[in-house]
Amino acid sequence: MATSATTASDEPLARAAARPGGDAARRRPHRTSPGLRWILPGFVVSAGLIYFCIAYSGYVSLLPWDWRPRRPATLEGLGSYGRALQDPLFWTSLQHTLVFFVAAYVVQCALGIIFAAMLHSKVYGGNLFKILIFVPVVIAPAIMAPVHRRVFAVDGPINWILERLGLIDVDAVGSRNWTGWLSSGLAQIGLADVTPNWIQPSTSLWVIVAVQVWSSVGIAFILFYASMGQIDPEVLEASRLDGAGNLRVLVSVVVPGLKPTIVALAILNAITALKLFDYPYLITAGGPAHSSEFLGTYIYAQLFGVSSHYGYAATLSMLLLVLALALSITMSRSARERRPGRKVKGVGL
């Protein structure tokens, strides 16, 4: 939705600028130079800091992989990059990032659309539900992480519920296991390693996905809710006159109208996945055994967790930067290519 909102606000400006003697044209000399002077010092300092840091990271990444401050800084070229590309944990982290992105994005979109559609139906207590869905967005991960650790603990609330539902048995030594039929069922589909101990290699990544979805579905909901409000009611009415039921209207009329929002959410989720750090660090510490390691946590571990490998951490950071840039450019281009077709989708723009 961010894409369409920007475009919508830009259009009147563009039209004004195109008009001879229009407002925008009259203001042009004042709009550029005085403002630039005011922002220039701040711009130079902030851009200087950001680009200086990036350039410095680039320089450090060319030093030996285990270089750290107060050690001789000898340029070694791209050796660290070669090490990273051969590092299984780098690829594991990337793989986790991809899985996280796809899973979190799909579930977030699905839940966001469902919640938005339901709350457009004027349900009783709709405002309360809106608040409940959005509240997790504004709670800091550092505050919620201990709660999530407790929620997913072996003796935590989730297992308590599953125990009451008869899905978990407690054995003689106090360990929790799936009840007989469930255990054999999971074994048959190759999930024998999935036990009610959630922070373990086979499930820890999914715990992070679940927590992320919980904490960010409110954003998707708000964006979809606003986007649905812009769909021309006449289009909906026409589809109903053509005999479409609720589900058909949702799938064939509403969802296509949400495409700009879906694309915007993809970009937001991709950025979130690439820079993910707080939840995996605070809930699983990237483990157990690197099973929920992401690039963010791996870079942190290289810098502070093992023995201050500044060189290697800088290399991984540069690779992350390249990935983020490539992804942003690709997605922006892709969104731009879709733009000409956007107006005919009937999303009220």
Binding site: V45, F152, V173, P201, G287, P288, Y300, L303, F304, G305
Partner: protein, 462 residues
């Protein structure tokens, strides 16, 4: 473009260059080395001390005693969680905002001398000034060497530590009729069955962290199979995929299957969760080192129990327990120990003199070391100093004093170091091995051992 337009651009360019110049100068000033540091006064001033240990109440006791001798030196102590120490220190040193005094340990991935030794000034002359030319011999054997890095004494030892045994809640043992000496694996298994039946967790441990607490158990198990193997493997004389290590992983897994290790070990951390479970009397056994003795006194235990969420704490009797012979090969695992940590002085400190006064008083002065001994957090570094056992406020002094004295004697006599030869990569590989062993069965013990071998870095004895 008009002439006027060019002029405007020229002015703008000059302005831009000036701004960039000012900004660059500002950045350069921020990044440059500070001007020559003043060493300040030796009897007055304000100094900062950062450490992951001791706990703040213990540090406050040290500082209060120091201030009786030096009232004009203010010491501000900041305690960091193990996992926060390295990031904080690293950032502080890079920005020239490091503390005057900081903790340094013999090895390990928190405060290892290989991480922070570069930032410390050489303290050999300061120690010599206090203790004379034979100063090294006045500390416990090996402590000074263990805190020496690149031929520089980067820290003076405050005290030593030993691990490789367990702490038990004697009250829970007695209440459940469990003998307090568990000599074999079967003794331990039987005790845990009793505790589980009574709704008490048996051995609490946390592996969901990068710290190496969880590896102590693995090392203890290894010692019950082959007492020499672990030290040899650390130094590259044996490999981690050796059958001894594979068997140790098997035993670790068996302990989980038999209910000795709780199922939640992979989802909790040693600190705070495992510690809290023991302090809240929810678990009967925990594996910690000699530093844990500090909670045996009623006052710190009460505070610790409150910290663990107990609303009306009644202190209990905690006792050290020698490790059982896990493998049944007749080997009783011994202790491993070394200088726990020392105090280092930032070589860029502007209060070096006051900092030196504090470090010297706490490490080389008998009064200072007595305060350290009485906190029973550390085995005192200075030879001849012993805790004033009768006046520590222990919960059950009659049985605790002889047990603690024996523990301290064993700790002082240990010949195998704890972290000195554990390369950070190796420590990390051991943590991963424990996590893999307990978190699932998708990998065999041999595969886990092979991974540990691949990820470890040997540290041959110099």
């Amino acid at each position: 473009m008009t002439h006027q337009g060019l002029g405007w651009y020229r002015k703008r360019t000059i302005g831009l260059l000036l701004t960039v110049g000012v900004a660059s100068a500002t950045l350069a000033a921020c990044g440059s080395d500070s001007p020559e540091a003043s060493t300040g006064s030796a009897t007055s001033g304000e100094i900062s001390w950062w450490g992951w240990t001791p706990d703040t109440p213990v540090a406050e006791r040290y500082i209060a005693a120091f201030n009786e001798a030096y009232p004009d030196i203010t010491v501000n102590y900041t305690n960091y969680e193990n996992a926060d120490y390295a990031p904080t220190m690293s950032t502080a040193f890079q920005t020239g905002a490091g503390p005057d005094i900081f903790d340094v340990s013999a090895g390990g991935n928190v405060g290892g001398k290989q991480l922070w030794g570069d930032y410390a000034m050489d303290l050999s002359s300061a120690a010599e000034e206090e203790l004379g030319p034979e100063w090294e011999g006045q500390f416990a054997t090996g402590y000074v060497d263990q805190l020496t890095y690149d031929d520089k004494v980067v820290a003076l030892p405050l005290g030593g530590v030993a691990a490789g045994f367990f702490w038990i809640n004697k009250d829970l043992f007695d209440a459940n009729g469990v003998p307090t000496e568990l000599k074999t694996y079967d003794d331990l298994k039987s005790a845990c069955a009793t505790f589980t039946a009574a709704g008490v967790q048996c051995l609490t441990m946390g592996t969901n962290s990068t710290d190496t607490f969880s590896t102590e158990l693995l090392r203890t198990i290894v010692a019950s199979i082959d007492p020499d193997y672990y030290a040899e493997a650390l130094q590259g004389e044996a490999s981690w995929d050796d059958p001894v290590f594979v068997e140790a992983i098997d035993i670790l897994r068996k302990m989980q299957d038999d209910g000795i290790i709780s199922q939640n070990a992979t989802s909790i951390r040693q600190y705070p969760e495992a510690n809290n479970a023991f302090m809240a009397q929810e678990a009967a056994i925990v594996q910690m080192g000699t530093w844990y003795a500090q909670y045996a006194a009623a006052e710190p235990m009460t505070a610790s129990m409150e910290g663990a969420g107990v609303s009306a704490p009644v202190p209990f009797t905690m006792m050290p327990m020698t490790s059982p012979d896990f493998a049944g090969d007749g080997n009783v695992p011994g202790l491993v120990g070394e200088a726990d940590y020392g105090l280092a002085i930032n070589d860029e400190s502007e209060n070096k003199a006051a900092a030196t006064t504090f470090v010297n008083w706490l490490t080389t002065n008998a009064d200072g070391q007595q305060i350290v001994a009485n906190a029973i957090d550390l085995v005192p570094a200075l030879e001849g100093v012993e805790a004033d056992w009768e006046n520590l406020g222990l919960v059950s002094p009659d049985i605790q004093i002889p047990a603690f004295q024996q523990l301290y004697a064993d700790a002082a006599a240990t010949s195998e170091t704890r972290n000195l030869y554990v390369a950070p990569e190796t420590g990390n590989a051991q943590v991963i091995a424990v996590q893999q062993a307990l978190a699932g069965r998708s990998q065999t013990s041999a595969e886990i051992a092979a991974q540990a071998e691949a990820d470890s870095v040997d540290m041959p004895v110099e």
